[in-house]
C-alpha cells in the first residue's frame, strides 16, 4: 500500500460492497434460469427429482435476494457519499435507466415472491407457475442488462461522452460483450452453487435415498456449471475483442502491461475448473455399471487438458509490466526465441479450444455411459463431493478476481478518457493484493451463503 493511503479505505469498501452485490446477483439471476428449466423437465419427464431440486434451490434464492439488494444499497451509499463528482454525472446521465431499473426490480421482487409462495398452490397448474418463472427470468436479465450498460459505459464511453444521449451511453462498444459474458457466467455460477448445496446435503444426509437424490442433484448442478463454463472462454474473448476494437491501449494494459499476470492467474483458475470438472467425471463414471471402459478416454482428456493448460500458462515474460526493469539477465525472465509462438494468442486460443472440446467430449461420454449402463446414485466416492466444494470455490474466486481486472483496466479514470479519478486510490493494485481481497470476498460470500443455507434447510427441520 502506498504511503498516506489507509489500509481500509473508500475504494476498498466500494470494492467489497460491489463484489458482494455482484456475487449474490449472479446467483439470484443464474439459479432461476435452471430452476425454471428443471421445473419444466420435472413436468415433462414426471421425474420428481427435478421438482425437488427446483423447489429446494428456489428457497435459497428467495432468501439470497434480499442480500443482493442490501449490498446494492451499500454500494450506492459509498458511491454517493464518497465519489460525488462521479455519482452526480452517472445518476444524471442514466436517470431514466435507473428509474426503469427501480421499477423492474419492484416487479421482479413481487414476481419472485409470487413464484415462491404459489409453488404448492399452483401444483395443479404447472404451466402457469412455469410461465411466472420465465417472466421472472426475463425481468432479471433485463435488470442486469441495464446495469451492464452503466458499467460498460465507464470503460468504453461513446465519443464525446458529455453530449451523448442516454441510448448512446447505454449501447456502447462493450455492452453486448459484457451482457453475453455475464449472462453465461451467471448460469455457470448458479450451477456450481447448486452442486455445492448438493454436496453439503449429501455429506450431512443420514438416509440412503437422500444421498441418492443429492448425488444426482450435484451431478445436475455440476453439469450445468460446466456446460456454461465451456462457452465462457468464447464469450470472454468476444468481450476482450470489443475492448481492443474500442481502444488498443486498454487491451495492451490488460494483456501485456500491469494486468498481464492477472491473466496468468486467471489461466490457472480456469484450468483448475476444467480439470476439476473432468476429475469429477472420472469419479462419477465408477458408479455406472460398464462405465469403466470409458476411463481411458477420460485419462486422455486429462492429458490433453494438462498440455493445454501448460501452453495457456506460459508467459511471454516474467516481468510484471512493460516498464519494469529486470533485476537479472533478461534471458532468465523472457521466453526463449524458438518458443515465442507459445506466448501468443493463436497458441493460447488453440490450447483453450482443445480443453473445451475434450471436456465437452467427456460429458458426451458420460451421457453414453448412462444410456448403456446402470446408474447407482448415491454410491459415488466421497472425493467427488469434495470436488463439488472445490469447483464452486474456484468459480466464485474467479469471478471475484476478474472484477478488479475489469475495473482497473480503466486505469486512473472513473469514465475512460473523460472523468479522471482524482482520489488517492486510483492506482492499479499489485496482483497479490488483489488476490487477497478477492479471497476475503469469496470467503465472506460463502459464509453468508452458508448462513442462508442453514437458515433455509436446517433451522426449519428442528
Amino acid at each position: 500500500m502506498p504511503p498516506n493511503v489507509p489500509l481500509i479505505n473508500d475504494r476498498l469498501v466500494l470494492w467489497v460492497a460491489s463484489e458482494l452485490h455482484l456475487l449474490f446477483a449472479a446467483f439470484v439471476l443464474g439459479a432461476p434460469i435452471f430452476i425454471v428449466v428443471c421445473e419444466y423437465l420435472g413436468l415433462k419427464t414426471r421425474d420428481q427429482r427435478y421438482e425437488r431440486l427446483a423447489k429446494e434451490t428456489m428457497k435459497i434464492v428467495a432468501i439470497a435476494y434480499s442480500l443482493t439488494a442490501l449490498f446494492g444499497g451499500a454500494m450506492t451509499f459509498v458511491l454517493v457519499g464518497k465519489y460525488q463528482e462521479f455519482s452526480n454525472f452517472i445518476f444524471q446521465r442514466f436517470y431514466p435507466v435507473f428509474g426503469l431499473y427501480a421499477l423492474l426490480l419492484l416487479v421482479e421482487s413481487s414476481l419472485m415472491y409470487v413464484y415462491w409462495y404459489t409453488w404448492d398452490a399452483l401444483a395443479g397448474r404447472k404451466g402457469l407457475h412455469i410461465s411466472i418463472g420465465v417472466l421472472l427470468n426475463i425481468l432479471g436479465t433485463l435488470v442486469m442488462v441495464l446495469m451492464n450498460g452503466v458499467g460498460s459505459f465507464m470503460l468504453t464511453p461513446p465519443e464525446n461522452p458529455a453530449a451523448a444521449s442516454v441510448w448512446q451511453s447505454l449501447n456502447n462498444a462493450t455492452w453486448t460483450g459484457l451482457n453475453l459474458h455475464r449472462f453465461v457466467a451467471n448460469i455457470s455460477f448458479g450451477g456450481f452453487m447448486v452442486a455445492l448445496f448438493a454436496s453439503v446435503m449429501f455429506l450431512t444426509s443420514k438416509k440412503e435415498e437422500d444421498r441418492a437424490f443429492y448425488d444426482w442433484m450435484g451431478y445436475i448442478g455440476n453439469f450445468i456449471g460446466v456446460a456454461a463454463l465451456v462457452v465462457l472462454p468464447v464469450a470472454g474473448y468476444v468481450y476482450t475483442k470489443e475492448i481492443f476494437a474500442y481502444d488498443a491501449t486498454i487491451s495492451t494494459l490488460l494483456m501485456a502491461d500491469k494486468l498481464a499476470w492477472f491473466f496468468v492467474i486467471q489461466g490457472v483458475l480456469v484450468g483448475l475448473l476444467f480439470l476439476g470438472a473432468v476429475y469429477y467425471m472420472w469419479l462419477s463414471i465408477r458408479r455406472i455399471e460398464g462405465g469403466a471402459r470409458f476411463r481411458t478416454y477420460i485419462r486422455g482428456a486429462i492429458w490433453v487438458s494438462l498440455v493445454g493448460l501448460a501452453v495457456w500458462l506460459i508467459p511471454q515474460t516474467f516481468l510484471p509490466s512493460l516498464t519494469a526493469d529486470p533485476t537479472g539477465p533478461i534471458s532468465e525472465v523472457t521466453i526463449p526465441e524458438k518458443t515465442i509462438f507459445l506466448g501468443l494468442m493463436p497458441a493460447k486460443g488453440l490450447a483453450v479450444s482443445a480443453m473445451v472440446v475434450v471436456t465437452a467430449f467427456v460429458y458426451l461420454l458420460y451421457r453414453q455411459a448412462i444410456a448403456t449402463g446402470k446408474m447407482a446414485w448415491g454410491r459415488i466416492d466421497v472425493k467427488a463431493q469434495l470436488v463439488l466444494t472445490f469447483l464452486p470455490a474456484v468459480a466464485v474466486f474467479t469471478m471475484a478476481f476478474m472484477g478488479p481486472i475489469r475495473e482497473m483496466a480503466r486505469g486512473q479514470w472513473h469514465i475512460f478518457q473523460f472523468m479522471a479519478d482524482k482520489t488517492p486510490y486510483s492506482f492499479i493494485t499489485p496482483l497479490g493484493y488483489a488476490a487477497i481481497v478477492a479471497g476475503i470476498i469469496t470467503i465472506v460470500f460463502f459464509l453468508l451463503m452458508g448462513a442462508i443455507f442453514w437458515l433455509g434447510f436446517k433451522v426449519g427441520q428442528h
Partner: protein, 196 residues
C-alpha cells in the same frame, strides 16, 4: 510410487537439461520458467495420484465430512492467493512527475498510464510493440514525408493518427488531440523531438 518417481525425473530434467543447452538453440528456458514448469509438474503428479487413488471410505461423522469440505474450500483459495502473491508484482505506481522542463513533463506524459503511449510504443527497452519503435523517432521521421518537418509529422500522428500509418502496422492508434491539453501536447512533442 511410480508417479512420484516420474515427477522427480521430469523435474530433474527441467533443471538439468537447460544447463547443457547453448543460447543459440533458442530453447534455453530461464530460471523463472523452470520454476513454473516444476510447479506445474508437481501439480500434474498430484492430479495423477488422485486419478489412481482407491475409492475413499465414507466419512465417519457429519462433522468430519463438513470439516473436510471446509478445509478443501479454504485450502484451494489459500493456495491460489499464495500463488498470486509469489507471482511477479509491480510496485505501486507513484505520481507522475511534474518536472522542470517541457521535455521532462512530456516524458512523464508518455509513460503515464492515464495517457498510455508506452502501452503500444517502445522507447529504449520500455514499452509495447503494437506500434512503431520510437527510440529514434525524431531522426527517423525527418524525411518520412516530403515537405513535412519531423515536428509536424509527429503532431499529425498525435492528433490524426489515421492520416498516415506506417507500413505493416494496423490503424489502431486512438487520436490524442482531445486527450491531451494544449500544454501536454507541446510537452509530449518536445519529448518526442528529443528522441534522436
Amino acid at each position: 510410487m511410480r508417479i512420484f518417481i516420474t515427477v522427480i525425473a521430469v523435474i530433474a530434467a527441467i533443471w538439468v537439461v537447460p544447463v547443457f543447452l547453448s543460447d543459440d538453440t533458442g530453447l534455453k528456458f530461464g530460471v523463472s520458467y523452470r520454476v513454473l514448469f516444476t510447479l506445474f509438474v508437481m501439480f500434474a503428479g498430484f492430479l495423477f495420484y488422485l486419478l489412481g487413488a482407491p475409492e475413499s471410505k465414507p466419512f465417519k461423522s457429519t462433522a468430519r465430512a463438513v470439516g473436510s469440505a471446509g478445509l478443501v474450500f479454504v485450502a484451494s483459495i489459500g493456495a491460489i492467493v499464495l500463488l498470486a502473491n509469489l507471482s511477479p508484482q509491480f510496485a505501486f505506481e507513484g505520481q507522475a512527475s511534474t518536472g522542470a522542463s517541457s521535455e521532462d513533463r512530456g516524458k512523464a506524459a508518455f509513460f503515464d498510464p492515464g495517457v498510455g503511449c508506452f502501452l503500444c510504443h517502445v522507447v529504449e527497452t520500455s514499452g509495447g510493440t503494437r506500434g512503431p519503435d520510437l527510440t529514434h523517432v525524431a531522426t527517423v521521421v525527418e524525411t518520412r514525408r516530403q515537405g513535412m518537418s519531423a515536428r509536424d509529422y509527429l503532431k499529425e500522428s498525435l492528433v490524426n493518427p489515421g492520416a498516415y500509418v506506417v507500413p505493416t502496422f494496423d490503424n489502431i492508434m486512438p487520436p490524442f488531440g482531445d486527450r491531451l491539453s494544449p500544454e501536454q501536447l507541446e510537452d509530449t512533442l518536445a519529448y518526442l523531438m528529443s528522441l534522436r
